[in-house]
């Protein structure tokens, strides 16, 4: 068998396994939600972590320590938060959820790096299970409508942000929203104008009020129709801000990495000295025991 054929075999093996894992994870989560079993959702979450492993193996990553630090921090936060949210009630749960979404959001903004694709996939997997968990929590612990809505809005924003930011779909969503606002605005404007004309025919007194109302509504709707301009500015500002934070994160990661290397070398030194000191300690102890035994025997003769 040639080398290329071996490559194909190995990649096929990994793909089969990935397919199997994704299928079982989806099944577990879906069933978990349907039969309201938290253990099943948990199982789905566990499987998503194994999926991460297969992806990493397939892409042959983890050549740099920075990548390791990033991934470790993300997965650790994900696991901790998953179980924390499970028990946090009402407001704390909500805050934790929001914080977590923000962390993932920032992590996802690290564009142009090798692990970006992996991070996206990790987020994708984990987010799916967060959504499932949130839904489950909402139905189980009967959170208030406001909290439910907040969770749904944040989740939707996150999903849109994660999947659409770099694609045409994001701009299509913009266009669609602009079209909807314009159509809605024009129609409401027409309705108001017709209404005011009808009122004018019947009652002269209401003329001024209705005209004023109509004008103000038109103004508001005109503003609404151009809402996309400030929205895009906010969006660009957010991206800029996120990129700055991302750079800061990178610096922070490098700092942590250096710190870890220092700690490890110190630990190695401690371990080395410990081995010798322990040996010395054992030696001293045995002498001490021996002397005590001699004294004991001498005193009891």
């Amino acid at each position: 068998m040639s080398i290329n054929e071996h490559d194909k075999v190995m990649y096929s093996i990994i793909n089969y396994m990935k397919m199997y894992l994704v299928a079982v994870a989806l099944f577990a989560t879906t069933m978990g939600l349907l039969v309201r079993s938290y253990v099943a959702i948990e199982a789905g979450f566990k499987i998503s972590i194994v999926v991460l492993f297969t992806i990493a193996v397939e892409r042959m990553i983890y050549t740099h320590r920075v990548e390791i630090v990033s991934t470790v921090s993300i997965v650790s936060i994900a696991i901790t938060a998953f179980y924390f949210i499970q028990h946090a009630k009402d407001f704390i749960g909500l805050v934790a959820y929001v914080m977590l979404s923000i962390v993932f959001l920032i992590m996802n903004e690290k564009n142009g790096r090798k692990i970006n694709t992996l991070l996206d996939i990790v987020s994708l997997n984990i987010m799916l299970y967060y959504i499932a968990t949130s839904l489950f929590l909402v139905t189980r612990d009967s959170l208030t409508v406001l909290e439910t809505l907040t969770i749904i809005v944040i989740t939707t924003l996150f999903v849109v942000k994660t999947y659409c930011i770099k694609s045409k779909a994001f701009y299509k969503v913009h266009e669609l929203s602009r079209y909807l606002i314009r159509t809605l605005g024009t129609n409401i404007d027409k309705i108001f104008n017709t209404l005011s004309e009808k009122l004018l025919k019947n009652k002269q007194k209401t003329e001024a009020i209705s005209r004023r109302l109509s004008n103000s509504v038109t103004k508001v709707l005109q503003n609404l129709a151009h809402i996309d301009i400030p929205f895009i500015i906010i969006e660009l500002k957010t991206i800029e801000y996120m990129m700055t934070i991302s750079k800061k994160f990178l610096e922070f990661e490098k700092y942590i990495e250096n710190l870890l290397i220092k700690i490890f070398s110190a630990l190695e030194r401690i371990q080395h000295s410990m081995e010798h000191s322990f040996l010395f300690f054992v030696f001293l102890m045995s002498i001490l025991i021996l002397i005590s035994m001699i004294f004991y025997i001498l005193l009891h003769i």
């Binding site: 089969y16 079982v24 577990a28 566990k46 990553i61 499970q86």
Partner: protein, 491 residues
């Protein structure tokens, strides 16, 4: 009849000895007898203690596979079968330790196992004068054997000889009231389980021993320390002190071992460091059981013990295969094993994924039980939050070091054909695959037993439909993978 010493110790030992005598002339008959010696111990499986039964079952499965593996390994690496009887004896002595009914039996077989462990670590020194092996063996003697033996003798002294000979292990009236005595005993067992501060002997010892020996030392022997910690939970001890010490040392080693494993580039040292991390998390689960009394922690530690034992044995078997085939242990110079043997790479991948939590493996159950146990108690104390955070970091680090390990298999490198030593080594791949798949068979067996008679592992019932579906899908997956590999071998 089943409880008699003849059935428990004499029959397996005789079968093993006769089997080894046959090995010189008729390897097949010898191997069958050796396998029978391990299988004859399965009469001890039906015990009321879940932890103990699972340990015995795992040791039997590992024993059977390693009996076959060691024959091929010893012949390929050393050209003789001298390694085989020592490995068999070590396996039997560990199994005898786990099936011991009273303290004196436990101490006797424990000591025998330790001595054989010493011999195996120093095997390369005995065989070819490798001084590094001897240094590692002495380190093991000083920092693992001596402290553990002190603990055992303290226990024996407290118990008294009459009781040590007659009373069943769990019913011993042991009152360890003095905190210093408890600390001494704990440190002794920490040395066996390679938990801080007596963890440093393990990476050297496990990385220099022959691969089947490393597999036993890492997969089963460190579990003796865990077993001892578990047994201590039945006696009158200062529970707060016990849990505080084990939690502190265990959590520290969990992080330290996992971080060190992530930085290693020698396949065997990586595995050795990961052993300290994994064993420590099992000890932490036992400490949490002692602290809370929640049986879920014991169930989690039982499953984790089995999962880790199978994982570590298969990984060390794989490292033996790599050593024989590539004559290299540095991951940076490997990365082509999948081009030599896709079956071996598949087996390793299955083992890693099983321990990371691929359903329906025993590792998956262990992870679900562990995190469920922690999260059930998280509202009671901040300690559970700390454990949760450290366990989460450990899981993420385990992903990292397993990927680093797998780079030895798959890193798109060209094999150095001049250095390859295939020969008998390719025989080993089927044994690695066997042990990898056993992780999934274990879940199936446990599930069936749970449905039939076991009252423990109640959480399994909640996972019923998931296990059934994943088992069915897994069978289909294996069938597809088998066809894929077979088709490629033919072509």
């Amino acid at each position: 009849m089943i409880d008699s010493i003849v059935m428990r110790f004499v029959v397996p030992m005789t079968l093993m000895l006769i089997g080894n005598l046959f090995m010189a002339r008729r390897i097949i008959y010898g191997s069958i007898l050796r396998i029978l010696s391990f299988l004859s111990l399965s009469i001890n499986l039906w015990r009321e203690d879940l932890f103990n039964s699972m340990l015995v079952a795992t040791s039997i499965v590992i024993g059977v596979v390693l009996a076959l593996y060691t024959t091929s390994y010893s012949r390929s690496k050393y050209g003789t079968l001298t390694l085989v009887p020592i490995i068999d004896l070590l396996l039997l002595s560990i199994l005898f330790t786990f099936i011991s009914r009273n303290l004196i039996e436990l101490v006797t077989f424990w000591l025998l196992g330790e001595l054989l462990g010493f011999l195996l670590i120093a095997y390369d020194y005995i065989y070819k004068g490798d001084t590094i092996s001897m240094a590692a063996a002495i380190k093991y003697l000083l920092f693992s054997m001596v402290p553990t033996d002190i603990s055992l003798f303290i226990l024996l002294a407290i118990t008294g000889l009459t009781e040590a000979f007659t009373t069943p292990l769990k019913s011993l009236s042991l009152f360890i009231t003095d905190p210093i005595v408890l600390i001494l005993i704990l440190f002794g067992f920490f040395a066996k389980a390679a938990i801080f501060p007596l963890h440093f002997w393990l990476p050297d010892a496990h990385s220099v021993a022959p691969s089947p020996a490393s597999a036993i030392l890492s997969g089963l022997m460190v579990k003796m320390g865990i077993y001892a910690l578990y047994m201590l939970s039945f006696y009158s001890i200062d529970r707060a002190l016990f849990s505080s010490i084990v939690l502190f040392s265990g959590l520290l080693t969990t992080l330290y071992g996992a971080m060190q494993a992530s930085l290693q580039r020698d396949i065997k040292r990586l595995l050795a460091y990961s052993t300290t991390s994994e064993t420590s998390i099992i000890a932490v689960l036992i400490a949490l059981y002692v602290m809370s009394g929640d049986i879920l922690f014991i169930e989690a530690s039982t499953l984790y013990t089995v999962a880790h034992a199978i994982y570590k044995v298969s990984m060390f078997m794989d490292s033996g295969f790599i050593e024989l085939v590539a004559h290299e242990r540095d991951i940076r110079r490997l990365g082509y094993i999948y081009r030599i043997s896709p079956t071996e790479s598949l087996a390793t991948l299955l083992s890693i994924m099983a321990v990371l939590g691929m359903p329906p493996s025993i590792g998956f159950l262990a992870k679900v039980f562990m995190f469920s146990a922690i999260s059930h108690n998280i509202t009671y104390s901040w300690i559970y939050v700390v454990v949760l955070v450290i366990a989460a970091v450990k899981v993420s680090l385990s992903i990292v070091y397993n990927i680093i390990y797998f780079k030895a298999h798959m890193d798109r490198r060209e094999p150095m054909m001049t250095r390859l030593g295939l020969g008998d080594a390719l025989q080993l791949q089927k044994y690695t695959l066997m042990i990898s798949i056993s992780s999934f068979i274990f879940t199936f067996t446990i599930y069936i037993l749970n449905c039939m008679r076991y009252t423990e592992l109640m959480l399994l019932r909640k996972l019923s439909y998931l296990l059934i579906i994943s088992m069915t899908m897994f069978v289909a997956l294996i069938y597809m993978l088998y066809n894929l590999i077979r088709h490629n071998i033919r072509s």
